[in-house]
Amino acid sequence: MTCLPPAPPARRWRGEGPRALLWLSPWIAGVSIFFVYPLLSTVYFSFHHYDMYTLEFAGLDNYRYLLRDPRVGVSARNTLWLVAIMVPATVLFALALAQLVVRLKAGAGLLRTVFYLPSLVPMTAGTITFVFLLNPGTGPVDHLLSLAGVRGPDWFGDPDWSKPSLTLLSLWGCGQLMVIFMAALLDVPRHLYEAAAIDGAGPWRQFRSVTLPVIAPVLMFALVTNVIYALQYFSQAMVASRVASGTTDSPGSSFTPGYPDESLLTLPQWLFQAGFRDYSMGYACVLALLLFAVSMVFTLILLRQFRRAGAEEGS
């Protein structure tokens, strides 16, 4: 391949700064407009009352209200549940599924497709379908359970079961993770397993001493990113609450997010409600800063992962 006109004096690595700046300029502008500016502005609004009509200085009012708002504690507890149970459950399930599919001799391609597909089903569609499947009285799942003589719970309608129901949805949609894990597992050299087997290592020992060390970075990456996604958990919970509550969007019946009993309320939903339904935008900004602080903690953990990986790569 040739490019004309011919080469100017060979450029070395020095002096790439200005070029980089040129190439990055649109992105830098984007980060300034859509990240830096709104972040600073959020801090500013957090000290004000603002309903999109009148702006007035509020001092620490919004922060004081944060401490008194019972829904903050509720959503923190819900999010903790998602982080502590839903995320590990999903990651482990995806890993187990990947292990299973990697081991298949027949029909691996087809089954991989079957397990992957649900992750592509639009989130709203998937959530509505699960609410239907688990609907008490009319849903197929309770029907099948009753055939087995089990009385199914009220799933999305019971505060103790709503989060497990969403976890089922999350397991169903774990296809992306599964494919990632499959790739990592295929990275493990086969001869190591054979060697371990000859050593008399059982499946669990093989997993611990051969598989785990190889896939550990990928596993860690998956865990941290999924924790961060759990902190942003919004759409599934919102749609599930709305659909499961069975209240129509009728005039006068205003909707509280988090049905049942706020068991699906997460911080992003409460922020959305405060900012864009109640129009307490100053207070929403306080919630935004709280969300920012929490997700920053996990982002830093993730960044450390990257730095470690980067260091070992020697770049």
Binding site: W23, T124, P217, V218, I228, V243, L271, A284, A288
Partner: protein, 302 residues
């Protein structure tokens, strides 16, 4: 990938003498057959469970109103009319059009704007390169709700709320996830190629379009697909900006309101759900390989 190799090397241990294997031959073979059966049986059972929700969705979509309110699983009559009734009862086509506009423009803008940024991050050496990459990851991980209030006010000020533009326009400036993904791929392209192009006197731009992009085709395709699906499935963004008027909704949002308007007409709701899901599945089958390769890419650590 080098981490992988190092860790693997640590885990390796001397192999045991080979005669152990021979002695256990028959028993091992029987065990292997049983294991084979168990593994496949488990996989098939799980696969059926994964397919069940879609199957029930489709079956219910074809039931009558009354039957959908019972717990029966198999339609007594096949009401294909439910599918057309969805179109009559909602603005499904309009929503699909809006969604398509959002997804197509969003994908186009994202790819065009993210490739150069990713290339610069992967290839150029400059002070602050690491910092820039950290910013990419931070913005990628930032919950969209954090900056929602000020941005909403900006778009309201520009008179662009009640449309999808507040979601599409930012993509002109690059999308963090896409930049991240492309950069991950581009760093794996050996420097020799780009250096050779430079020696030939190619400008950065020509190097990118003539040398790098052809090699990065799978990554670009994956980014495009991901972005398309992200936009197609997005619920939060359209809810915030385009949730006011029925004819401005996207499919995701419209589907959720459809349920609200037809509270327990599960057959129609499932028919609508089926109609929204089907195109996605079809696209997947057309581009299956790109998907799997792309997903694999997202799992690669820095």
């Amino acid at each position: 990938m080098s981490v992988t190799r190092e860790v693997t090397a640590l885990a390796a241990r001397p192999a045991a003498p080979g005669d152990a294997r021979r002695r256990e031959g028959a028993r091992a073979r029987r065990r292997r057959v049983l294991l084979w059966i168990a593994t496949h049986a488990l996989a098939v059972t799980l696969a059926l469970m994964f397919l069940a929700p879609v199957a029930f969705m489709a079956l219910t979509a074809l039931m009558t109103d009354e039957q959908a309110l019972t717990s029966e699983l198999w339609p007594r009559s096949w009401n294909w009319g439910n599918l057309t009734e969805v179109f009559d009862r909602s603005l499904l086509l309009r929503w699909a059009g809006n969604t398509l506009l959002y997804a197509a423009l969003g994908t186009l803008f994202t790819v065009v704007s993210s490739v150069p940024v990713a290339y610069a991050l992967a290839r150029f050496r400059f002070r602050g390169r690491r910092m820039a990459f950290l910013v990419v990851i931070t913005t990628m991980m930032l919950p969209p709700q954090v900056v929602a209030v000020p941005l909403y006010l900006v778009w309201a000020r520009l008179g662009l709320t009640d449309s999808l533009w507040p979601l599409i326009l930012p993509m002109v400036f690059g999308d963090a996830f896409s930049i991240f993904l492309l950069r991950q791929f581009l760093v794996t392209i050996p420097r020799e190629y780009t250096d050779a192009a430079k020696v030939d006197g190619c400008s950065d731009f020509r190097t990118l379009t003539r040398v790098v992009l052809p090699m990065a085709r799978p990554a670009v395709a994956a980014v495009a697909l991901f972005q398309f699906f992200y936009c197609w499935n997005d619920y939060y963004g359209p809810l915030l900006y385009a949730g006011v008027q029925q004819d401005h909704l996207t499919l995701s949002l419209g589907l959720a309101t459809f349920k609200a308007f037809h509270s327990v007409q599960w057959n129609l709701t499932m028919a609508a759900t089926l109609l929204v899901t089907a195109p996605v599945i079809i696209v997947f089958f057309l581009a299956q390989r790109v998907f799997i390769e792309g997903v694999t890419l997202t799992g690669v650590k820095g």
